[in-house]
Symmetry: C2
Subunit: 345 residues, 2 copies
DNA sequence: TTTAGCACTCCATTTCTTCGAGTGCTAAAT
DNA sequence: ATTTAGCACTCGAAGAAATGGAGTGCTAAA
């Protein structure tokens, strides 16, 4: 059977009604929207059920979109909603936060998204691969303490006060710095540790102790920054939704959201936005849940993800529009001055 | 009427039963615990209701402790639970996390607590007051960029790459550093900005631009670190509790937990642990909720708070024991090497 | 003072009714 | 060939009534 234009129109009406009300929608309501009688609509509805685009909770109830129906809606019927200028402005305002720690930035972005779309949100940023220390600097504070400053290959700077086992003199530092810069820059954390080991017999014990402290600090930092950051926000929004009034369901999904650092983020194959409806999700914790995810550019050519989790009955048009607004905002933000917009420390 | 020893014993039984089951407890169950008949117990129960220590949801139901009853229980009847060595060890393990960002440390501590007691937890650390920059260092990277390193009065180090409006030569930096160290150390962020303004006419514009960038960065950092950090974790635990199966209630409390950065943390007047039962809480969002809060020492003589929020029907003995375990752990942690245990950057 | 016994209360749960929105089908109308 | 009006029918949601049992308060005996 061919799916006529009118069927599509009806399907659209069903989706939009159901999204708005969370109740099965009957023929009468639709008849009012398009100018035909309810009987005609009923015939069409019956066809749509037959074709698998709609479902009927039980015989004498209205219709509810099936995942397939949502899919068609998202692919063809949904009007790509344009954000009003006011709204775009609001989103940008929300993002115009002081760039500090990446974590905090992401967490704030997540909160903002969640607040705007009224669903739980998550944000992920891939850790930099191939990150290395670009330059070491040492600042002597007291005989037994110095500040190690690392400049990383992505222009970020990290520093820390180190308490030393043995005192050092000011004139000892330049050669140490030189050694660090010659032997420990531009390489991975792993490699740094290896080279350090290799030096253990080649240099005096006192020097080794010092090197060890500094290099370990550097390697730790690289490892930390190389990890994926993942943040969720607004899980409580779930409780507002009728489909999660059941505390057990809500609890289950919330636990999933806060635990799964990995399984959740839906991968994204190049396109800027992806919508996964109900069973299309791999993870079965998300089985009757939809995910809308957009990606944004971080410096270099890395991408981060920003997503929203909600019931299958989600206002896809609104969420998609806002989410891409946020993704664009983030991209712009990260891209501001070429590389990371402003380093945090 | 005097409150006999037996009455106390019965009250204790009621509290403990109710905490365990969340159901009003009847005379029979208690009669089994202490060696008297249920009729006797009923007489005593009636007295306890009269005295306001118990409540009766309706005539033919069992008894439930009133806030006053819990209070007596907490003050006198509760056995101060000793943690097993294994348990103490577990708690310490949970805390033996790499000290990095303070935020992250707190958030991890919160998660750990929440996981251990199965209630939502929150952790707060007061920002340092009187924080100032102790020393400035500048490292020239390229003509148009340098790294500013700040050593703060609490021994923490912060640093950031700054992109300059105008190029600087290496030999220009020492005098700038000197100026910074002479005029902008040991003072508040506010004062820093004032002094900066005062200099605006006294120094050449190019120098002022540079100073401005560095000093502003320093002032921002001071402000940020001077703020109270506040973290909540495990809000979803609420959903497991029968008293919050109602999605609206749960949502309300969760929102309160995640929003209120200020109102929630219960102040603490010197004693290491405080228990607030139901209506004893000032904030009415916590009206039928109890809070157990312990304090821990951060460096200097600052204190942080770590607390647990749960239903009035909370296992006070267990929570109090574990919470103080955590508080001790944190205190030990922060106290490790005299001051902040390990600075993060 | 304690306890056994008993009538009574009141809620939680179940079962039964009722109500109405919505359907599917048929037959007339376009 | 569609579309529409009409009508009997279905089935869940919401309310009402019935049931059961845990727990009480009171009385009278131990």
């Amino acid at each position: 059977m061919e799916i006529s234009e009118r069927k599509k129109q009806i399907l659209k009406a069903v989706v939009e009604n159901y999204v708005a009300t969370a109740e099965p929608v009957g023929s009468k309501a639709i008849a009012a929207e398009i100018g035909v009688s309810s009987a005609t609509v009923r015939n069409e509805l019956a066809d749509l059920v037959e074709l698998g685009y709609l479902e009927q909770p039980h015989t004498s109830a209205g219709r509810v979109p099936s995942p397939k129906g949502y899919r068609l809606y998202v692919n063809e019927l949904m009007e790509r909603q344009r954000l009003s200028i006011a709204e775009t402005e609001k989103i940008n305002d929300a993002l115009r936060l002081k760039m500090e720690e990446l974590d905090r930035l992401l967490s704030q972005a997540g909160q903002a998204v969640s607040r705007y779309v009224n669903y739980p949100a998550y944000v992920a940023a891939a850790g930099k691969r191939g990150l290395a220390v670009q330059r070491f600097e040492l600042l002597r504070m007291e005989p037994q303490s110095l500040i190690a400053v690392l400049m990383l290959s992505d222009q970020r700077v990290r520093s820390q006060l180190l308490h030393l086992q043995l005192p050092v003199e000011a004139e000892q530092l330049p050669p140490v710095t030189k050694l660090l810069n010659e032997s420990f820059t531009g390489i991975s954390a792993r490699e740094m540790n290896l080279r350090l080991m290799a030096l253990s017999d080649a240099v005096p014990p006192a020097l080794f102790l010092l090197l060890n402290q500094i290099v370990s600090y550097g390697a730790d930092q690289l490892e930390e920054l190389g990890q994926k950051t993942f943040v969720t926000a607004g899980a409580r929004e779930l409780l507002k939704l009728p489909e999660f009034r059941d505390a057990d369901k809500a609890h289950q999904l919330m636990s999933f959201l806060s635990d799964s650092t990995e399984k959740l983020p839906v991968p994204d194959d190049g396109s800027p936005m992806k919508i996964l409806i109900g069973p299309e999700n791999v993870s079965d914790a998300l089985h009757d849940t939809s995910v809308v995810v957009a990606s944004y550019d971080i410096g270099d050519d890395m991408r981060g993800l920003i997503g929203v989790v909600g019931p299958t009955r989600m206002d896809y048009a609104a969420v998609a529009a806002r989410l891409s607004g946020f993704a664009e905002g983030l991209t712009r933000m990260f891209g501001k001055n070429g590389l990371p917009p402003k380093e945090e420390q």
